[in-house]
């Protein structure tokens, strides 16, 4: 009988003692946090993608409080988050429009030449260390190993016929793929613009043509076709000024190598199918 009593007393007593002790400690050792911190945390998407450059949404919220981050620093939350943060912090915010990532290469396996078969690590940086900056004959092109796909936490990048293709609807514009691509092929483009140049080759026209059927050959037909002075051929192929582009599609029609694309137009059939399927 005394054994049962002792057991009850000791365990019950310990439980009570620890419970009381912990609640006292919780009050005594309480750490004061800024009341704005949970509010800020709620205004953020909570994807913890790291697109802002901080280690997740909590770290970004703390950086906002200390002034180390800008209210519009969250690429995923975009305008809605930025406005909410601005209200909480009481600062005015400038809002950029919605963006999405775009892979500036259309050189899929059926259109471009490869010098050898790459079978190493599934990492573009590793593939790029090899001779000639990777297996693709074009040193500027997408290696198709898929570091960007691995970096994307939103499932927005698919490898289709050997090149990366961004699904613009799923893309949260966190810019992780932009950082992951060692060829710097992925660019952030305005969501409302759908006409893009899918080539950054710096090779002269003839060379580019030899190694990739989807490469920019610097023929300047797009420049001539454009009535709005929005597209210019520079050293690294045609470049579209998104502020001037009205998306009339004249350059897309004129481009002989179909490296200027408009939402699935002008890029290889398999790739455009992938885009329409995903969109």
């Amino acid at each position: 009988m005394t054994g049962v009593l002792y057991a009850l007393l000791v365990l019950g007593g310990m439980g009570l003692l620890f419970g009381l002790g912990l609640s006292v400690a919780a009050i005594k050792l309480k750490v004061e946090t800024d009341p704005r911190l949970p509010l800020l945390r709620e205004a953020l998407p909570g994807a913890n993608c790291g697109g802002c450059g901080f280690a997740g949404c909590d770290a970004f919220a703390e950086a906002l409080l200390t002034g180390k981050a800008s209210p519009s620093g969250c690429p995923v939350g975009g305008a809605t988050s930025a406005q909410a943060i601005g209200q909480i912090l009481g600062v005015p915010v400038t809002i950029a429009g919605r963006q999405n990532a775009f892979v500036r290469c259309g050189g899929c396996e059926s259109k471009s030449l490869f010098r050898y078969d790459y079978q190493g690590l599934s990492d573009c940086k590793a593939a790029m260390q090899l001779a000639g900056g990777g297996s693709k004959a074009c040193v500027y092109g997408c290696l198709g190993v898929g570091s960007c796909k691995a970096a994307c936490q939103f499932g927005a990048i698919e490898m289709i016929d050997g090149i990366a293709v961004v699904n613009r609807e799923k893309c949260a514009a966190c810019t992780m793929c932009v950082r992951a691509c060692p060829k710097q092929l992925i660019a952030m483009v305005p969501y409302n613009n759908t006409v893009h140049v899918a080539c950054v080759s710096g090779d002269p026209g003839r060379e580019a043509r030899k190694i990739c059927k989807a490469g920019c050959i610097k023929c300047k037909l797009c420049e001539k076709a454009c009535q709005f002075d929005a597209v210019h051929v520079k050293d690294n192929g045609a470049i579209i000024d998104y502020a001037k582009c009205t998306q009339c599609g004249e350059c897309v029609k004129k481009c002989p190598s179909k490296c200027i694309t408009a939402l699935g137009v002008g890029i290889p059939a398999s790739v455009s199918e992938g885009i329409t399927q995903n969109a």
Binding site: Y6, V10, L11, M14, A25, L29, Q119, L121
Partner: protein, 192 residues
């Protein structure tokens, strides 16, 4: 010499994860990156040393004198959980940088089976106060060794071409099994 043997055998021969199969949950859960694995290992070392000491005091100054030694399992869980909670609060207050490094792991291991296991083993082997702590630190060092090695292998594997059927946990479990077989080679290193 005896204490050194206890320490080394806890690290290598009777490795908690790979030989006794305790603490598998954090071993698989927190082993994707070497940095976090190391942080987890340090946190486990800290908690195990603390738990060994606390459990020893409870066993020899509370449970045995009152003749209720059979309650050790429940009592240990209670003591360890409360202690770790208290320490977590204390660290959060006194040293934010240490809390950043250890804090997030502490709630994960308050009632981990490896932590409870080390206290029960201390009791079963009738270790003294210091020996208990040394055994606890040794077991935790073994855990750290295993989890850091495992995390390094997983980091390397994440960039390999693994057949789709084996991606993720299947290959991780196979790796853990192979590591356990490798650690079996330490059997016979120490004859106690």
């Amino acid at each position: 010499m005896q204490t050194l043997l206890i320490f080394m055998s806890a690290v290598l021969v009777n490795n908690f994860v790979l030989n006794r199969f305790l603490g598998i949950c954090p071993f698989l859960g927190v082993s994707k990156k070497t940095d976090t694995a190391l942080g987890m290992g340090v946190a486990v070392t800290f908690v195990m040393a603390l738990a060994s000491a606390a459990a020893y005091i409870a066993e020899y100054y509370l449970l045995r004198p009152l003749g209720i030694g059979y309650l050790y399992n429940i009592a240990y869980i209670l003591i360890i959980a409360a202690l770790v909670q208290l320490v977590e609060m204390f660290i959060k207050r006194s040293s934010p940088s240490l809390y950043q490094a250890l804090g997030i792991y502490l709630p994960l291991i308050t009632t981990n089976c490896a932590v409870l296991g080390v206290t029960v083993l201390n009791r079963d082997n009738n270790y003294g106060f210091l020996t208990s702590i040394i055994h606890g630190v040794g077991a935790a060092t073994g855990f750290t060794l295993a989890i850091v090695l495992f995390a390094s292998i997983r980091e390397r594997m994440s960039r390999s071409n693994i057949p789709s059927a084996f991606q993720g946990f299947p290959i991780a479990l196979i790796t853990a099994g192979l590591m356990a077989i490798a650690f079996l080679g330490f059997t016979g290193l120490i004859k106690v």
